[in-house]
């Protein structure tokens, strides 16, 4: 398969314009999240090397999704051999090429091709794409006939992005429960359970505000949220040194995202709740 390769001069200018360090090594990967449809069954990811040395890149496809751990932190859950109950697209998704070298100031396109089973039910299927970029080796060689011992470590980068494959009617939503807000010093720590509804991952944004009895907002946050099954996140909201009072946490979760195009967002009703902040 041919690999589209370009070396336009504007890439050098782009690298300079966006502040990239030309001596540094790495590739720019776009988009940062891939959405494919059953209609086209294809997609593409562009790799751009703004550096001055070639970068070897390998591409891997695997099944994974995000969840929260016992501390409420996001984590990537991977399953090496997902069974038929898991909505994995990894088994029938291929990337071409799987290994490539992106020259200095060049860009190349990795094509994605889906060959799902014929009886694939409607719904959303997930995979992860991993791009491992290997740049030049650390220049510690050259010690031949001395008693010197030289030591260095090369840094290699592996970037993992998500892929959503949608077939037929897909819908999403969330159920919010267990909302708690506890004051801890100059912060309010928020716990909640967010369970996904429907047959597609929920992509949205959480907006939280801590409000004083007089209506004044003393703290606020907004974070992107993606719910594949169920998340039990923990957020900390800074409220500063406000005096003890009867504060209230208000939470809204909407299917809006700053980092994704509106066309890829599945809409669902706004979810809202509020609880008193426990001193």
């Amino acid at each position: 398969m041919s690999r589209p390769t370009t070396r336009p001069a504007w890439i050098v200018a782009l690298a300079l314009a966006v502040g990239g360090t030309l001596r540094a090594q790495g590739v720019m990967i776009a988009p940062h999240a891939v959405f494919m449809s059953h209609g086209t069954r294809s997609g593409a990811v562009t790799l751009l090397n703004p550096g001055t040395e070639p970068v070897e890149v390998s591409v891997a496809v695997f099944y994974g999704y995000t969840a929260t751990d016992s501390t409420g932190q996001l984590t990537l859950v991977t399953v090496d051999h997902p069974d038929s109950t898991q909505p994995s697209a990894a088994g029938w998704l291929q990337a071409f090429p799987r290994r490539l070298t992106v020259g200095p100031q060049e860009q190349q396109v990795v094509r994605l091709l889906a060959t799902p089973p014929a009886n694939l039910p409607d719904g959303e299927y997930w995979a992860r794409l991993a791009f491992t970029a290997k740049a030049g080796q650390l220049p510690v060689a050259g010690v031949r006939d001395t008693a010197n011992i030289k030591v260095g470590l090369t840094l290699q980068v592996r970037t993992v992005i998500g892929l959503h494959y949608r077939k037929g009617i897909v819908r999403t939503g969330i159920a919010l429960s267990g909302l708690q807000a506890v004051r801890q010093g100059d912060s309010v720590v928020v716990h909640a359970r967010i369970e996904r509804q429907g047959n597609a991952a929920y992509l949205g944004t959480v907006h939280g505000t801590v409000v004083a009895p007089n209506g004044r907002v003393v703290g606020a946050f907004h974070v992107p949220v993606t719910v594949f099954y169920a998340n039990e996140p923990r957020w900390a909201v800074s409220i500063g040194a406000v005096p003890a009072d009867s504060y209230r946490l208000r939470l809204e979760i909407t299917t809006e995202r700053e980092d994704l195009q509106p066309e890829v967002l599945l809409q669902s009703p706004l979810v809202r709740d509020s609880v008193p902040v426990t001193p």
Partner: protein, 179 residues
């Protein structure tokens, strides 16, 4: 529903790009406009970039003498820069070697402590939040610049009879973007 991957560099005028690729001449003003469009923040282009800025360098070590590089060392600590979208959450997972490989099959132990990882939302080596590079770490990118730096320190532990020569290894940083 259409595929969202046809134009990977979202926000870039793909027609213009095709013209550039095909070798046709772009007028100077058009080229400047293209550059201006391309120079837009990456957040607008929906891209992620992780760049290895500086390798972790222990330099010359002596047999039997442990050499430690702090993550705050501006010359020798490892540094990687991340650029994605504003307020984005990423998971950082280091794959760290236990030994480095040297001449004629010789190896040298290397170790990493619970405070050898550093995260800076301002990309300053002087302003880091320490973390344990041996376990996953979740960070949020700067809400204004959408950029951050990750630093790494560690220790090389040459034995008393360590063979002379160059010892190298590879540290892999996996950056998981949480869309």
């Amino acid at each position: 529903m259409g595929s969202r991957t046809g134009s990977a560099l979202a926000g870039v005028n793909t027609d213009l790009c095709r013209r550039v690729r095909s070798g046709s001449r772009v007028p100077v003003l058009g080229g400047l406009a293209l550059l201006a469009a391309l120079a837009a923040p990456l957040s607008a282009q929906r891209a992620i970039q992780v760049t290895s800025i500086r390798s972790l360098v222990f330099g010359t070590v002596f047999p039997g003498v442990r050499r430690t590089v702090l993550r705050t060392d501006p010359l020798n600590s490892g540094q990687l820069d991340i650029r994605a979208t504003r307020n984005a959450q990423v998971q950082l997972v280091f794959t760290l070697p236990a030994v480095l490989n040297g001449p004629a099959g010789a190896t040298m132990p290397v170790s990493f402590g619970g405070n050898d990882g550093g995260y800076s939302a301002t990309r300053s080596v002087a302003s880091q939040v320490g973390f344990d590079p041996r376990v996953p770490y979740v960070a949020r990118l700067n809400n204004n610049s959408a950029r951050a730096s990750v630093f790494l320190g560690g220790s090389a532990n040459p034995i008393a009879s360590q063979r002379a020569g160059s010892y190298t290894g590879t540290v892999t940083l996996t950056v998981v973007y949480f869309p």
